[in-house]
């Protein structure tokens, strides 16, 4: 229904534009934007696409969204990026898979006069994010989730749930991937700085978000710490594993609080059933929307976007899991 309306809006916008016989300036022509994502099929990317489409419809632009089948196919994605540059669109949005490999390709886009705004993950452009902008030969900026801040929100929520005291275990999903590190450290740093009553156990890692390893980790922690009050899992797999460990240990729902990350069918079912307390979700719809907004404003009005847009994140639990604002960012 909603999608239908958007299509109608987009089509009528298109009709308006094509209807004018006079040559159109950038101010009212429909802008073509190529969006190269890290993936296409995953629900997270579908949500990014939805946000981009909605924003494009509002701003008289069209998007073409594509990404490789798996997030390991760096070459494939760079081919897509090259093909997009060759099409000479009005702008390109890019989520970096090969953060270093893509830099030369982005420079080629710049040389071709096509503005690029990055989303979700920035490429390793010279000088990093601070050097991004209209003077960069790489990209204008990046719209992404501030994972440190998201981890810190999880810490605030956990502390509130526990009344500021108790033992808490952090189970990370990666010690090497920046997102994984930030989600864990954001939580740990906040707890240490603000909540003296919370005792953090040594963080453990289920590398790659291995749900089975996460289950073993949490099972061991529950045995060794009868007074464990909370578990924080930094991704979907870890959160699932932790929930299953609670189930196997036959814990009463809510006896140990569990805050997870992202969504997915099982995690959402666990939150609804009370096995899991809640989770942090990113705002993929916002990532898509902000990227398109930044690009259209830049091309049409020469408004220079911020070189870093934090698209935000939310904590959700049983009470707001059906809130439309939250639902838009959840995926099965």
């Amino acid at each position: 229904m909603k999608k239908g309306l958007i299509t109608v809006a987009a089509l009528s916008a298109l009709a308006l534009v094509t209807g004018t016989a006079a040559p159109v300036s950038a101010a009212d022509k429909t802008l073509k934007i190529e969006l190269i994502s890290k993936g296409e099929t995953h629900q997270f990317w579908q949500a990014v696409k939805k946000g981009a489409e909605e924003q494009a419809a509002k701003m008289n632009a069209t998007i073409h969204f594509q990404g490789p089948a798996a997030e390991t196919m760096i070459d494939k994605q760079l081919e897509m990026l090259d093909a997009a540059i060759a099409l000479k669109p009005d702008a390109i949005g890019y989520a970096a898979l090969g953060t270093t490999e893509s830099v030369s390709h982005l420079k080629a886009a710049h040389a071709a006069g096509i503005p690029v705004y990055m989303f979700d993950t920035a490429a390793s452009c010279d000088g990093g994010v601070p050097a991004l902008g209209p003077n960069s030969d790489c990209a204008l900026g990046v719209a992404y989730t501030n994972s440190l801040a998201a981890g810190s929100l999880a810490a605030d929520t956990m502390a509130k749930l526990l009344g500021g005291k108790g033992k808490v275990l952090v189970v990370g999903h990666s010690q090497t991937n920046q997102t994984g590190i930030d989600r864990a450290n954001g939580f740990i740093n906040r707890m240490k700085a603000k909540y003296k009553g919370i005792k953090l156990l040594t963080p453990q890692y289920a590398e790659g978000g291995d749900a089975l390893k996460a289950q073993d980790i949490v099972a061991a922690a529950l045995v060794a710490n009868k007074d464990l009050k909370g578990v924080y899992g930094t991704n979907e797999g870890v959160s699932i594993g932790a929930g299953q460990a609670f189930k196997a240990a036959k814990l009463k729902n809510g006896a140990v609080k569990l805050i997870g990350f992202d969504s997915g069918k099982q995690q959402m079912a666990n939150i609804k059933s009370g096995l899991q307390t809640g989770a942090i979700t990113q705002n993929p719809v916002g990532i898509g929307a902000k990227t398109v907004e930044a690009l259209v404003n830049y091309v049409r009005n020469k408004t220079v976007p911020k070189n870093l847009i934090d698209t935000g994140f939310y904590y959700y639990d049983k009470s707001n899991i059906t809130d439309p604002k939250i639902v838009a960012d959840l995926y099965e």
Binding site: T41, T202, A211, A220, V223, G237, Q266
Partner: protein
């Protein structure tokens, strides 16, 4: 259980006790290491030895790797290797999950689907090795990659959730037919006993050892080696299928990206248990002890809250020590380092 080792029984006419020690010492030392490690952690944190930890922590975490390792034991005794067991498990899990959910199968049919798909995947390995004459390392490396991709494709990159309308799927692993004894552990125990019987009391077992000791001689004596090899890889696949069923039951879902790397843990368990990578020698009970050494160690280090990066180092060191100790002991016992 008297498990026959093929070579090194020349001393049969000599001292029977010496022969026994020579035959059993691999497992005896592995068992001794297990006891030492277990005692160490118990002294450090008595809660380690609590039944809650032994059953829900240690034994439960041994089940998936343990089942795979049982299958891999057969393959390694033939002198082969199977690198595909980890990702095959993921593929079996996804296919089982999709089939069970879409066709509304009950638990028993679901288990059947799991072991059947596992057996088929194992047979494919066997055929690649015997018909196409590919080295096992290469053949199973290829199927490892193939299975990894297919698991992602068939799952649509999403975990397959076993919803509550499949009644009892979580009881496969987490239920208790015997009070306070998780079913998954029971499955591992029964599998080990059956595998041990197959290895020691059946034609398949006899040829498994024979092929590993001397493939050419076995062939010359009229044994259809290729057929038996396919059977061995299929049997390995069967246990991988069972591991996949237990894994999905433990998690309540099939995780398409879970399994890569598990093949190395399974192979490590087999080798720590005294099975020779060169083939011709090995026991199921040794493999189970090997798998237990790994899970006791990892569980203990977690309970002691050792930092993760150091956990890896300790595990690596123990694998080294276990296998090195085994080699030294065998050389002393006058065996060839087979």
């Amino acid at each position: 259980m008297s498990e026959v080792t093929s070579a090194g029984t020349k001393a049969e006419d000599g001292n029977k006790v010496a022969a026994f020690i020579r035959r059993e010492i691999g497992r005896v030392t592995a068992l001794a290491s297990l006891v030492v490690i277990f005692t160490f952690f118990t002294v450090m944190r008595p809660v380690f030895a609590s039944w809650a930890n032994v059953s829900g922590g240690i034994l439960m975490s041994t089940t998936v790797i343990g089942l795979m390792a049982i299958g891999v034991t057969f393959v390694i005794i033939t002198g082969g290797i199977d690198l595909s067991v980890g990702t095959s498990m993921a593929l079996v899990a996804v296919i089982t999950g999709k089939t069970v959910m879409n066709m509304h199968l009950n638990v028993w049919s679901g288990i059947l689907v799991g072991v059947l798909v596992g057996t088929i995947l194992g047979s494919i390995n066997g055929l690649l090795i015997t018909v196409l004459k590919l080295p096992p390392f290469i053949a199973t490396l290829a199927t490892m990659k193939g299975a990894q991709g297919l698991a992602l494709i068939t799952s649509d990159l999403k975990p397959v959730l076993f919803t509550t309308d499949v009644k009892g799927w979580d009881s496969i692993a987490q239920g208790n037919i015997i009070p306070n004894f998780p079913n998954a552990v029971l499955i591992l125990l029964i599998s080990a006993i059956i595998a041990s019987i197959i290895l020691n009391k059946t034609v398949l077992g006899r040829y498994t050892f024979a092929i590993g000791s001397n493939t050419e001689a076995t062939k010359l004596s009229g044994v259809k080696v290729n057929r038996w090899l396919v059977a061995v890889y299929a049997l390995c696949g069967f246990f991988v299928g069972l591991a996949a069923v237990v894994m999905t039951s433990r998690l309540g879902s099939a995780q398409p990206d879970l399994g890569l790397g598990y093949e190395l843990e399974a192979i490590a368990a087999v080798i720590i248990g005294g099975t020779s990578l060169l083939g011709g020698k090995g026991t199921i009970s040794g493999t189970i002890i090997g798998a237990l050494i790994m899970s006791v160690l990892i569980n203990g280090l977690r309970i002691l809250e050792l930092q993760q990066e150091w956990q890896y180092v300790v595990v690596g060191a123990v694998i080294l020590l276990a296998v090195y100790g085994d080699n030294v002991r065998r050389r002393r016992a006058g065996e060839t380092t087979h």
